[in-house]
Symmetry: C2
Subunit: 437 residues, 2 copies
């Protein structure tokens, strides 16, 4: 290979930032062997960009470099009009594989798997198996390091590794050395569940089987790294209060970016409008004691912050499989206590703030203790309420079939703001009736 | 193997939820071969729990099952007093390896790598190499599927795979078939940078080299899946406004959970107290026009929401390596325009809200148009400011050496709340002077 490894590595990281024209000319400048390897490593989006900018004869060459699962991903990236034409460029075998893969949703095991796995029969000897695996290594098999043992009807009987084959006596039977205790997943398994299987079992590949335990393909761990990143990105973007962008920040078009962000922002704004209504209910109280208005942002934001913490922790624990729906009551009990403790801490600081300010600046008048107590007690109530609402909301969303990550920080904050105002003025009415109100 | 695979799989997922006693008795009930495999797959925390609950003679057996990198992780999980004793239980070779690994921080390449990789000399023939790799496969090598070519001083010359060896002629020289264009990382490389290398280059393993290009070990992709999950979890928890928990939600002790959450909540509360000061500056205005107070929560929360979106998108793009420090100006230009558009949308709705309410309920008096304009224009300003502050803050934090994920949603909201009040009342003074104020 002729390219300097350092430059090659930089090419990768500079790819997204270059202009499309720049990318094409850089790509064409690479020596062929480097270009092939580079092309295979590129993201699907950038692979399609290159294909789309080449004449059809060259498209065939580059498309045929890809494994069926990667080719299927590329076709899904292409506009639907172009998909059929690209399919005809593939060789017959790959086309069949790709068409089978395209029937699955992109985010289930069936859509991630490669149908090209290494296989053995249980009645082979180790020495026969090694020859057979070696033959498969020369073909287009995804990995030959994990080898699956199938009967004549493709039922999965067991699994072994090239390494075990190496370590076994040549005349041993595969059925004697294979592991039958195999972790499998169904074609419809969600990619998030799949990534948890990989993490729990420290696996390199998972065989995908149908309902009759017939093996359909394998998902390898390098595909799962992408899935894990992608799922985390989606969750993070939703939790920040926008739709998942679905493209890198600098690459998404301005119009699409606005649409992804304006939707939730508008919904939250409409929800937050209720605060104006809630405040309207207490207009007389504010007019009588303007001092009450001063603490509103402080108090409602504290509820929102406490709620953000709780919902974030619960959403992430759900995504990692640490929490299930049935755990909601355990979480509630925990957050009830947490909310009380956190609320008491903030309440004490809030009360202290009023008392200290009064002693320094004499701004709150003779009833400053009552004002301080109103602030302190409201904080306990609002932080408690924020914590409970924030931790319960992801459970409710999942229960009714939504993504728990939609319980975004801004969503929880909005929910808590409205109720926070009501809690604050209710406490104020109780404590200040006859004095300030 | 005797265990039913389904039960075995369930055992894994039920592990975290069982009590410690329950876990030990379930573990002891497993047939030995299953127990060994299960033990190797467990998280470091749970591996240590089992070790800690066994008599010393058995500790030796289980500890020696682990590869050096996993053993090093386990020792880091152990209280420092127990670490020396556990080290003495290892065999001499492993102890040396583990001690070398313990010198590195857990989150850099050196702390993740395994020193047991398969190696070849460049002047071997393919047939010699296959015999040599096979011998290494019988030992404790981490993977034999990627093989590194080193000179006599351990300098990394190239890389090849078992598969390439299979596909080559027996008399070919390794130096002729090896790839010299190798992606490497230094021992001090951060695990987040490492995971990006894996993603960019679709790798199974990365060789770790010192400053003289001498190979020290390999990091394999199965370790990276854990890293990616862990980094995403930390970022998400920080972005939700608490410290990273560092343990599963249901397993962390109540006291530790409170400490992780109370710190930031208190800091945010102290920051948010400035809203009371800011409001205090406008007490006279509120007294004159109580109607102004009604829109405060609506207006400041919109700035916070817009800021949350922006900071979340920027933080994630930074973590994925899509944005670097030098991109700050491109992001600013983009967010300036985004903020203006989003602010105009919310401003128009806000103005509409006031006008429609007035026509229905006649609550805002004769100057309702001016009130509506105050709300609408403030929204444009505050959303724009929130968007800019939210997207700039992660850059500033990274520039001064902090984790950009600390620009949490609540942090941005707090920052924007205080300035939002000032913007709102400034617009109000301008528009309402002589009428309501």
């Amino acid at each position: 290979m002729t390219t300097n490894p350092v430059l090659y590595s930089e090419l990768h990281s500079a790819w997204a930032e270059a202009s499309a024209d720049d990318r094409m000319s850089r790509f064409k400048a690479l020596p062929l062997a480097d270009a092939q390897e580079f092309f295979r490593e590129l993201s699907t989006r950038h692979q399609y960009e290159i294909i789309a900018n080449l004449p059809e004869r060259e498209q065939t060459v580059w498309l045929r470099l890809l494994d069926p699962d990667d080719a299927a991903d590329l076709l899904q990236e292409a506009p639907s009009g172009d998909r059929e034409r690209l399919l005809t460029l593939l060789d017959d075998n790959t086309r069949d594989d790709v068409q089978a893969l395209l029937k699955y949703r992109e985010d289930v095991a069936g859509g991630l798997m490669s149908p090209r796995f290494a296989r053995l029969r249980p009645d082979m000897t180790v020495s026969e198996a090694l020859t057979y695996v070696r033959k498969q290594a020369l073909g287009a098999t995804e990995t030959v390091y994990t080898v699956y043992v199938l009967d004549s009807e493709q039922h999965l009987l067991g699994v072994t590794s090239l390494r075990t084959l190496f370590a076994s006596e040549p005349q041993q039977l595969i059925s004697d050395i294979m592991r039958t205790n195999v972790v499998t997943a169904s074609e419809q398994a969600d990619q998030e569940a799949l990534s948890r299987l990989f993490a729990e079992h420290d696996l390199i590949a998972i065989p995908i089987v149908d309902a009759e335990n017939r093996m359909k393909g394998i998902v390898t761990i390098d595909d799962i790294v992408d899935v894990v990143q992608e799922e985390a990105t989606e969750d993070i973007q939703k939790m920040g209060g926008s739709e998942a962008l679905g493209a890198p920040y600098l690459e998404i078009s301005f119009g699409r970016m606005i649409r992804k962000r304006a939707g939730w922002l508008t919904v939250l704004f409409l929800g937050e409008m209720l605060t104006a209504n809630a405040m309207g209910q207490f207009e007389d109280e504010i007019a009588k004691a303007v001092v009450l208005a001063l603490f509103i942002p402080l108090i409602i934001s504290s509820g929102g912050n406490a709620g953000s913490q709780a919902s974030t922790l619960v959403i992430r624990a759900m995504a990692l499989g640490e929490l299930r729906l049935t755990d909601w009551w355990r979480v509630m009990r925990r957050e009830l206590l947490t909310g009380l403790v956190l609320g008491s801490i903030l309440g004490a600081i809030g009360l202290g703030r009023v008392v200290i300010w009064e002693s320094m600046f004499h701004t709150y008048g003779q009833h400053y203790w009552l004002i301080g107590l109103t602030v302190g007690l409201s904080l306990i109530g609002i932080v408690l309420w924020g914590t409970l609402a924030g931790s319960l909301l992801p459970f409710i969303l999942r229960r009714v079939g939504f993504d728990p990550a939609s319980a975004s920080t801004p969503f929880v904050a909005t929910l808590v703001d409205v109720t926070g105002i009501v809690i604050y003025f209710s406490v104020a009415s109780l404590l200040l009736k006859g004095t300030l109100l």
